[in-house]
Symmetry: C2
Subunit: 405 residues, 2 copies
């Protein structure tokens, strides 16, 4: 039940059916490969002839290819179809406050070259030229991975609606910074930029899986230096009017709570960020202190290790975080009613310690009867959700549904 905007619509032309069915076929091939033309026709409930035309068009364009012949119990053997991921790649970049990570993937998001990283340079100009050089070298060193289709970049901050400027990235000190144009100029490749929490959600949305899980509304909550949240509704990222929707990190947990970096009091982020957990461990607010030297301090990973080895103070700090995490998730669940919540970030390493607390405090705040059935899925750091999201920025557009009506 969508309203058509009388000031912004897309009329259908003669080839609109083809555009639509082409994308459906492509997505089915992606989800169920290997698959034959006949199977495709059965799945789509159209004639084999119509499918053949679409498939041959896709083959001609090099988007899919005809692989080995398959087996059937009887009759002519089918020719299997696959999404063509050979000799093309995407560069995924994850910009974080201290280090920047780079990975090369194929066009369905599978890693091709291991993750490399380097310290994040705060000066934007220097950063751009450094990053461009690294990417050029990486692609030159691995000619076997083929042509690069584009660069996907993920940042811990807000991106404007055109995806070309960083509006505000507090932990990087970047403010209204054009990033797309300089990088595109420096690399000669198409670039997409996205907020990291949202990108994590994108990664999950486009994750190649068994294919028997249907698209459901979900939320990705990334607990890290900040709190990144991505919301997916009906197969689409929630963006809002200025492309800053989903900033659940700055909804209130307690309006009288501790001051948050955003200026407000008692934001969820101020309770559950890594800094908040560490602050509880140390018994003082680290946010007030001038830029602690990373090496001199214990990190969240150290804290989790301490907790695992039995340190009571570390355990208590994590339990508090777990409680606040669950309470905040309750607000998220009541707001968007998702089928599933993905949780990422360093804290997932302590999931065995905090799961019970998170779940029980989530239940405390969610409405009966349906809200409490929400599934929680932990995404370990080893899954590289941010980098996979960055890769999805490059690969997903060619699988997206056409815009109609």
């Amino acid at each position: 039940m969508r309203r058509i905007d009388p000031n912004n619509f897309r009329v259908a032309t003669r080839d609109t059916p083809r555009q639509i069915n082409r994308q459906i076929a492509l997505n089915l091939i992606r989800a169920r490969q290997p698959i034959s033309r006949a199977d495709l026709a059965r799945s789509m409930n159209v004639r084999r002839g119509a499918v053949s035309l679409i498939v041959n068009e896709l083959i001609e364009e090099g988007i899919i290819f005809e692989g080995a012949t398959g087996e059937t119990s009887r009759g002519r053997k089918p020719k299997f179809l696959f999404v063509d991921t050979r000799l093309r790649c995407a560069v995924a970049v994850d910009i974080r406050p201290t280090r920047t990570y780079v990975m090369v993937t194929d066009l369905v998001g599978r890693p091709l070259v291991g993750v490399t990283s380097f310290p994040t340079e705060r000066d934007p100009k220097v950063f751009v030229s450094e990053l461009a050089a690294k990417i050029r070298r990486l692609l030159a060193d691995h000619e076997e991975i083929g042509e690069c289709a584009g660069i996907g970049i993920v940042v811990p901050g807000m991106v404007d609606r055109t995806g070309s400027r960083i509006l505000f990235a507090p932990r990087l000190g970047w403010h209204d910074l054009p990033l797309l144009e300089p990088l595109q100029a420096a690399t000669g490749l198409p670039v997409s930029i996205e907020n990291s929490g949202r990108a994590c959600a994108l990664a999950k949305m486009w994750a190649t899986r068994g294919g028997d899980d249907t698209t459901a509304d979900f939320v990705f909550v990334s607990v890290s230096d900040g709190l990144g949240v991505g919301v997916v509704v009906k197969g689409e990222l929630l963006r809002g009017q200025h492309n800053v929707a989903g900033e659940f990190g700055h909804i209130a947990l307690s309006i009288e709570g501790p001051r948050c970096a955003c200026g407000a009091n008692g934001c969820w982020e101020a309770y559950v960020s890594n800094l908040a957990t560490l602050s509880r461990y140390f018994g003082r607010n680290l946010a007030d202190e001038p830029l602690p030297l990373e090496s001199a301090m214990i990190t969240i990973d150290d804290l989790i290790a301490l907790a695992h080895s039995g340190d009571a103070k570390a355990r208590a700090a994590l339990q508090s975080t777990a409680r606040y995490l669950g309470l905040g998730l309750g607000s998220v669940v009541n707001a968007v009613d998702p089928a599933r919540i993905y949780i990422g970030g360093e804290i997932t390493a302590a999931w065995d310690l905090i799961e019970v607390t998170v779940r029980s405090s989530l239940k405390e705040r969610t409405l009966r009867p349906v809200g409490r059935r929400v599934e929680i899925v932990v995404v370990p750091a080893s899954d590289y959700p941010r980098l996979k999201g960055a890769a999805a920025l490059v690969s997903a557009p060619s699988f997206a549904a056409p815009v109609v009506a």
Copy 2:
């Protein structure tokens, strides 16, 4: 950038372009009537011939009609087209805890028969037969308004995803109650049921206006006995996985706050509902007291009148509510990044007293730089947003975009 669900898609057929363009044309006629075929063709950027076919089809079906001939500076005069709202109507029903309101509208939501009301019977069976009788009598008394296309019902509670059962309506004491089938059986008319906050949002989405305002993401917050919220994203209501999304009334303002009817502590609703405001006025929590007799108590409208006449205690109570309202709106804005917030409910009568406080506390919690630009629009009770939303339940489906891909 929507992902196509490989398990739930709609392939395009030969007549998909027609279905799409038909709905676009219909929406354009609705938004810009009176309009000629030639104008329509220009707006849609298609041939006049194609438009003529669609228009004649719509006329044949009785959905639009050809009215008076228009004026042009030169050349053949155009025949104007209008959405045909003659001799058909929708019945809008607003079920509230104490009274139930009924209105009859035409199919673009304009009132035809004034609002009538009767006390809400708590026993569902009695209620259904009473309501059905009232509707039958109403339609019989006003034969001039033509045939009834359906009944739209709005309830202060959660509705299941099929729209047939009330999952939970705390203030009515209804719990997992089938309402659609009995009412349809008793009236012989199609029935749609929706949550009242969401229906208010629907009303605004389908409000017939100048037509030069484009569809933007927005939120409707209805402050009343409870707190109803409807969220519209890209011309569509946010529903979530179990049709209970948008329950922002139960996000936290303070996790240590007062107990809410939902069982959690410090929900936004517990701070800004009419009962909360009245409780502050009386200096004690009215929620704990056994069902106060309405007549014996002062109502929120009385309280607002007192405030307007200078009563300091009443003003203070409203100011507190205003502050909490603004703070909660901050969370909503950060979560969904809307272009506009509509505010409805009894409290809008005190808007002159609370506006400054609401706006400043909203600003306190919203993220820079874009979040603070959100527009706030007050919807007075005299606009009947709930009833118009109920009417939209009946009339909107025929204008909705077809589902494709």
